[in-house]
Amino acid sequence: MTLCRWLTIVLLLFPGLGLILGLIGTVVWIAIAQSFGLYGLNGEDQFTLQYWAEVTDRRVFARSVRYSFYVGTVSAILSVALAYPLAIWLRKPFTGSMTISAILKAPMLVHGLVAAFLFINVIAYHGILNQAMQALGLWDEPRRMQNDSNAVGVLILQIWKNMPFALLLLTGAVQGISDDVLDAARDLGAGAWDRFRKVIAPLSISAMQAAMVIIFIGAMADFSFQVIAGPTNRQSMSQLMVFFKDRGDWHSAAVVGVTLMGLALLGAYALAFLARLVMEGRSR
């Protein structure tokens, strides 16, 4: 390849790669450096492993890692699992399918904080849900559902917010599968479930991986849903990071931040790899 051609390629990639390397790369570098005691905002600037040792030694850190991983994984899997049947249902246009599709995607337009407040209002002790259940005679007294310890509220919010995104990606992929291919599978004896696991899922795996990775990263690093609707006895990694930052301990906050980035990357890769492994195994 000639030098001129190399230059053309570099120039073409620059607007995208330049932004990633320049801006995101700088932030990542600063976070990593701060976690090792460098770039101190209080003036101290010395390489040390002290912050890593201190933060990783705390029980709250291990708990927040487990909790964030749980929220990220469950949200990603359930969002995709719910989006798949809807994507298959909406694969072929029918009367009203456009409206249904638009309604299903509406949560994407609602900001997370607004959604969280709405949700709290619905499930609050004196909220609409409790009132409705009592009015219907199903519950004798109001139940406490807000900030539940198993983070069910956070998961509902994550799925509500992320499922439309998964649906968007999966609908495109599922619509790309020709009718003839699905009919051929049916003709060869594959029922609805076999057609899904042996044809639809393997042929839409790239969209599924993309949806899972993006949802996982977003849900794992979630702050707003957790602060408003999350359990009070656990902290997510983002919460822990803000906790350190609020105390002026930027180096410890950076340790949590770097761990979050690393785990998000690893987790996303693991989920994508696992999905491919499972689907490739099932398609045979």
């Binding site: 020709s178 003839d180 291919v181 009919d183 051929a184 003709d187």
Partner: protein, 347 residues
């Protein structure tokens, strides 16, 4: 016992009748082609037989069992798609094995069937390739193989050659027929290509507007079309409306048409005085006797010459193996009486 019996089958879509009162019996090992123009209902009929469409009325029997309500995945038929419909994420071997795995065929039997079919279809060297690494002809063979390994009671083809080039089409056409005979399969083949239908079939079902126009062997369909549509659709035909003048000699009827008077061999009496008749352009003989006609256009076609002629108030075509007639020449055209066919439909 018949392999397939279709009884009084009707299929409607939102008030539109795609198939109307179809009755058809197919014998075991028979190769039957559904032929007709676009929109005549041939693919709809194939989809009803394969189970992808439910008939509005009527029944379908396969080897005596009523399969009308049985879904395609549980019906003992195998369909070869026009688009091949191979699974793009699976290798050739996995494509061939797909149906056998669904039917939980044991591995040794699976391997035996797949190897047998792959050798017959010359696919042994392609087994580990993905469909997108194969040529059109190879993909078609995989599609055919995928159906054959199932050893179905009935194999169905939905215009399987339409995506192939002319040379490959001839080759695959012969292969399909050979394999169908080798395996003794009952086959239903859909095409709009009359030459394909005539070359491959034991019998041809000619469909028009959702109805069966004629069911016959290719030879009968060509030489004895029963209706104006059949005469027009299969090969080239000169169709005229005429008045019966009377019986010239026993079994020979004189009919006056706008192009002149023709003598037609017909046992019995024509149903009405006004009739429709047809003859093939290649059956006309240019010579000293017959109707006087002027050549309007001469078109050399290689193994014959096509002459567009005018006689009286009518026009017709003549195909001659050898002729010196040029545009504007006056020639005499004779059509042997036994080559003229009286059509059943009213003019």
């Amino acid at each position: 016992m018949t392999a397939i019996r279709i009884q009084g089958l009707t299929k409607m879509f939102d008030g539109f009748t795609a198939l109307s009162d179809i009755d058809l019996d197919v014998a075991p090992g028979e190769f039957v082609t559904l032929l007709g123009p676009s929109g005549c209902g041939k693919t709809t009929l194939l989809k009803v037989i394969s189970g992808f469409l439910e008939p509005t009325k009527g029944k379908i029997f396969i080897e005596g069992s009523d399969v009308t309500a049985i879904p395609p995945e549980r019906r003992d038929t195998a369909l070869c798609f026009q688009s091949y419909a191979l699974f793009p994420h699976l290798t050739v071997r996995q494509n061939l094995e797909f149906g056998l795995r669904q039917k939980k065929i044991s591995r040794p039997h699976r391997d035996e069937r797949v190897n047998d079919v792959s050798q017959k279809l010359d696919l042994a060297a392609q087994m580990d390739k993905l469909p997108n690494q194969l040529s059109g002809g190879q993909q078609q063979r995989v599609s055919l193989g995928r159906a054959l390994v199932m050893r179905p009671k009935v194999i169905l083809f939905d215009e399987p050659l339409s995506n192939l080039d002319a040379k490959l089409r001839d080759q695959v056409r012969i292969e399909i027929r050979r394999i169908q005979r080798d395996y003794g399969l009952t086959a239903i083949y859909v095409t709009h290509d009359q030459s394909e239908a005539l070359a491959m079939s034991d019998r041809v079902v000619l469909l028009n507007g959702g109805r069966i126009e004629q069911v016959d062997t290719p030879e009968t369909l060509y030489h004895r079309p029963r209706t104006r549509f059949a005469a027009d659709f299969i090969g080239n035909s000169n169709v005229f409306t005429g008045q019966v003048l009377g019986e010239d000699s026993p079994g020979r009827w004189k009919i006056e048409t706008p192009a002149g008077i023709f003598t037609c061999a017909f046992n019995g009496t024509p149903q009405s005085k006004e009739v429709a008749l047809c003859w093939r352009p290649e059956h006309a003989v240019i010579g000293e006797t017959g109707i006087e006609a002027r050549v309007l256009n001469r078109a050399f076609q290689g193994h014959f010459t096509d002459l567009a002629c005018a006689a009286g108030n009518g026009e017709f075509r003549v195909q001659a193996l050898e002729t010196t007639a040029r545009d504007g020449d006056v020639i005499r055209v004779h059509v042997p009486p036994d080559r003229i066919r009286l059509l059943e439909d009213r003019p």
